[in-house]
Symmetry: C2
Subunit: 188 residues, 2 copies
Amino acid sequence: MATVKRPGGRTARNRDAVLAAARALLEQGREVTLQVLAAESGVHLSTLYRNWSAEEDIIREAALAASDSNLPLPDTGRLSTDLTRFLLKLRDYVRSPLGRALLSIPLSATANRADYWAGRLRRAAILFERAARRGEIRDNTEWSSVVVAAISPIYFHEMVVGTSMTNQQIRRHVDLIIVACRPVARDS
Amino acid sequence: MATVKRPGGRTARNRDAVLAAARALLEQGREVTLQVLAAESGVHLSTLYRNWSAEEDIIREAALAASDSNLPLPDTGRLSTDLTRFLLKLRDYVRSPLGRALLSIPLSATANRADYWAGRLRRAAILFERAARRGEIRDNTEWSSVVVAAISPIYFHEMVVGTSMTNQQIRRHVDLIIVACRPVARDS
């Protein structure tokens, strides 16, 4: 039972193994506990305790890593197509076991959730920045409020109303957002 | 302990007493259980069991009744002012103990949540219908998607990001919604 110094790559491999195990459990709809994670990942329970204070931290990291890989930013050369594809994927992610798991983590358990979201919003803003460069929409120095307006109905339907947005509802919402961003001569 | 037939108004009075007790408990941030509700409202526990299957039903009814009274529809004659006032009030309601209690009820426990929301959306659409009649915005046969776009960021910030929208964020969002609804000559 003597502990042995392990080479540097060990920590990263442990981390990857634990996050992969967490993701697999979530996708199967199984409960994620530190004990089960240790068994499934082959990482010692003591190592888990040392690196994460709670299951929630691991679930959040796993869901975060998966959200980046599940949600590529489309680049079709047209904002309405890009945004429609992005929101369809976002809806599917949010209602997946992994997405639901992330949203069901109590807000109190995720201290840096605001930072996480700031990063997510900046990333989605790329769709709008590209469209502005193409002249499709007005330029804007502050895209986060537009991105929030674009993605919020997905979460509202899923978390508050208890339904998923239909494809038609998503397309109608994209039209609304595009009109809101259109370059128009404003009377000043 | 013999039960006695009570006059007809008794049922309604019991209901009001229970909902008022539930609302008071929620506003004080106290836990709502059928036992506590019976004690606070003076209504027999057996009556509570007969009329509601779970605390969640009572919490939902209480929050629903309060949301209608807490959120009057402004009528200032200008959509941007109406919508800003409405969203400021909505934000304050959603982050109140009563609003949080309603949102924390598991979706599975609220079978008719979709109906409830359809009613809420129809009510908020009145703000837009009035503005369309004044010629401020385009006419629309289907306001629910506009209303969803208008209110969703409030819930997204509160439930997902874990922050409340600032007044400035609300004003910026109202501007976006108004632009999206503006009457403009479209190239057809």
